[in-house]
């Protein structure tokens, strides 16, 4: 989809620029956009294809920036998609290019109150940074669910969930790293006499650094915990082993107590004693109960 909003922001020399929003553009829309902007189509296409390139490119009549925007998945807490958002400044136009609609862009780009280009970029980056924070929090919150399930877990599914959380936090960290690079590079372009802009830049940089620290610390925590998760699962399984070994011992006792009265040798009065069965079985039950009690006291017959 291609959408053009006229006079949406101010250029460096205070001329008005139009905002061209390209959302999952078709091949023909890309060609049309490249012709309108008078730039090679590959500039747009390569960014869309996610090919490795510099996040900030400055050429004679073009500035291009790219970073990842985390967008939560509907109905799946802690799940998100990192959507690459590319921004282009070409004479007369400000272009946003993404595979999905970025909801906050239309709030930030207001034709009634057009802002300067770097101010707008910094505001977009600040908004993206703010999006990283709740995403990272919701991913980290999943650790609590994993820990709750860990109590009963006998399989490594919980470890896999931990590994998945680790991967998602790593994706967020890499996205923030790219954003941090873009913000640091933007610093070279900002007019040093514009104190407001420098302040917004500094605020964005600090905010970004704080979010990154938080993601790093969440990830360090889960990295440390993952090994413990594996040991907890081992322990849960070992509890079962312990329980079953105790059970097998209890099941072995009847093999030798009644077995002693089942030998094919003269058994004295036993074959004719009326209470023989009751006496041996009673003894058996007594030994079983005593053994089971000892095992229980030692915790060998407890499952958790």
């Amino acid at each position: 989809m291609m959408r053009i909003t006229r006079d949406s922001l101010l250029s460096g020399n205070a001329n008005r620029r139009s905002w061209m929003a390209l959302v999952a553009p078709s091949a023909s829309e890309l060609t049309q956009a490249a012709t309108t902007l008078d730039i090679p189509e590959s500039f747009l296409r390569k960014r869309l294809e996610g090919e490795a390139s510099r996040p900030l490119i400055k050429e004679e009549r073009l500035i291009s920036l790219q970073f990842q925007v985390p967008l939560p998945k509907e109905g799946a807490a802690g799940q998100f998609t990192l959507v690459p958002l590319s921004l282009y400044f070409v004479p007369g136009y400000f272009v946003t290019l993404a595979e999905r609609e970025i909801p906050f862009l239309s709030h930030l780009i207001d034709p009634q109150k057009p802002s300067k280009r770097w101010e707008l970029v910094l505001r977009i980056i600040a908004e993206v940074t703010r999006n990283y924070l709740p995403t990272a929090r919701s991913v980290a919150r999943e650790m609590a669910v994993v820990e709750r399930d860990l109590r009963q877990a006998q399989r490594h599914d919980v470890v896999y969930r931990g590994l998945d959380i680790n991967d998602r936090l790593l994706a967020l960290d890499l996205g923030l790293l790219q954003l941090e690079y873009v913000v640091s590079e933007i610093g070279h372009f900002l007019p040093s006499e514009d104190a407001d802009l420098v302040e917004i830049h500094e605020d964005t940089r600090i905010e970004l650094s704080q979010v990154r620290d938080q993601v790093d610390s969440d990830q360090a925590t889960i990295n440390e915990l993952l090994e413990s998760y594996a040991y907890v699962v081992h322990n849960n399984v070992n509890h079962l082993f312990k329980f079953m070994a105790a059970l097998i011992i209890l099941a072995t006792i009847p093999l030798f107590i009644p077995g002693a009265a089942a030998m094919n040798v003269p058994l004295g009065p036993f074959p004719h004693w009326r209470y023989g069965f009751a006496a041996v079985t009673g003894g058996l039950v007594l030994v079983e109960v005593l053994t089971a009690w000892v095992f229980y006291r030692k915790g060998w017959l407890r499952l958790s």
């Binding site: 896999y160 790293l177 993952l226 079962l240 009847p254």
Partner: protein, 299 residues
């Protein structure tokens, strides 16, 4: 493959007999002995990784490649690309596996490109090669991690160790690239057209190094969890075997009292045998149900 020369006017690559110190050239190591101008610079560069002489600069940079290993599957391999840059020429020297993709990726987009810009492209390509390989290694790590779900052997773990080591190699190679670029930047005059290109490449190298290093650290940190998964697989099998052993023991244990050579309860009952069988297997079945509910059988 013969020495390739890029003809700007035609916009195509053509086979060239020799390096002429003007324009853009692609060469393989075997072709260097036919280029006396390059030989001396390359010899210095093999020893020092960077050789600067007047406005000539020769860099020997590590490039990451992927290759198939019979034992460990897809692994990373480091090769070297040598760039001999003068204000009027750029000679790119490397093995065919490096040269061909470079040539293919550029064809069609090289028209009107200055030597300096091509140098920057090659530098970025060298830097991105590590990121590309890192991505493939991470995909492979994730596949192996899923394969671990049912594995009880060390095959996957050994492959994971190799991939982790390869990721470490990528970080080291990127650091080496950074050192070479930094030295090249120091050796280049600030007003030289190559200076901003090297500076931009160095900044990009730092960014990519930080990213690959982060991936390497994070994946290395969870390796112990993989050990836990493999051990857990073996434990799970032992758990199920033990519960079967317990189940088989139960009917024997419950029926044993009726083996005694004493007067037995219900011994004159016609259906005692059926009754006892039903009793012992009934009790065992109840136990099996309880065990199943508590996950004793879950694999």
């Amino acid at each position: 493959m013969s020495c390739q020369f890029y003809d700007k006017t035609e916009g195509t690559w053509i086979a060239a007999e020799r390096y002429t110190a003007e324009g853009l050239f692609l060469l393989t190591p075997e072709q260097v002995n036919r280029c006396p101008q390059l030989e001396a610079a390359l010899r210095h560069c093999v020893e020092q990784r960077l050789y600067c002489h007047h406005d000539e600069m020769t860099l020997r940079l590590p490039v990451a490649l992927l290759e198939k290993d019979a034992q460990f599957g897809t692994v990373a391999r480091m090769a070297h690309l040598t760039l001999h840059h003068t204000p009027r020429s750029l000679a790119i020297l490397g093995e065919e596996a490096l040269i061909q993709p470079l040539q293919q990726d550029w064809l069609g987009e090289l028209r009107q490109t200055a030597v300096g810009e091509v140098l920057q492209r090659v530098l970025l390509n060298v830097i991105y090669s590590h990121e590309r390989v890192a991505r493939v290694l991470v995909e492979r790590l994730q596949e192996l991690r899923m394969a671990l779900k049912t594995s009880m052997s060390n095959v996957e773990l050994r492959q994971i160790v190799v991939l982790n080591r390869d990721l470490g190699e990528l970080v080291i190679a990127l650091r080496e690239t950074g050192l070479i670029l930094r030295d090249a930047l120091r050796a280049t005059a600030g007003e030289s057209p190559a200076y901003p290109l090297l500076d931009a490449a160095l900044r990009e190298q730092r960014r990519i190094e930080e990213g690959v290093n982060l991936i390497h650290e994070r994946y290395l940190a969870v390796t112990n969890a993989y050990n836990g998964i493999v051990q857990n697989n073996a434990h799970t099998v032992m758990k199920v075997m033990t519960v079967w052993l317990a189940l088989l023991m139960m009917p024997i244990a419950f029926i044993m009292p009726w083996h005694m050579m004493t007067p037995l309860p219900l011994e004159h009952w016609h259906y005692l045998w059926f009754g006892l069988i039903a009793y012992v297997f009934g009790v065992t079945w109840l136990f099996a149900r309880w065990a199943r509910k508590h996950g004793f059988f879950s694999m």
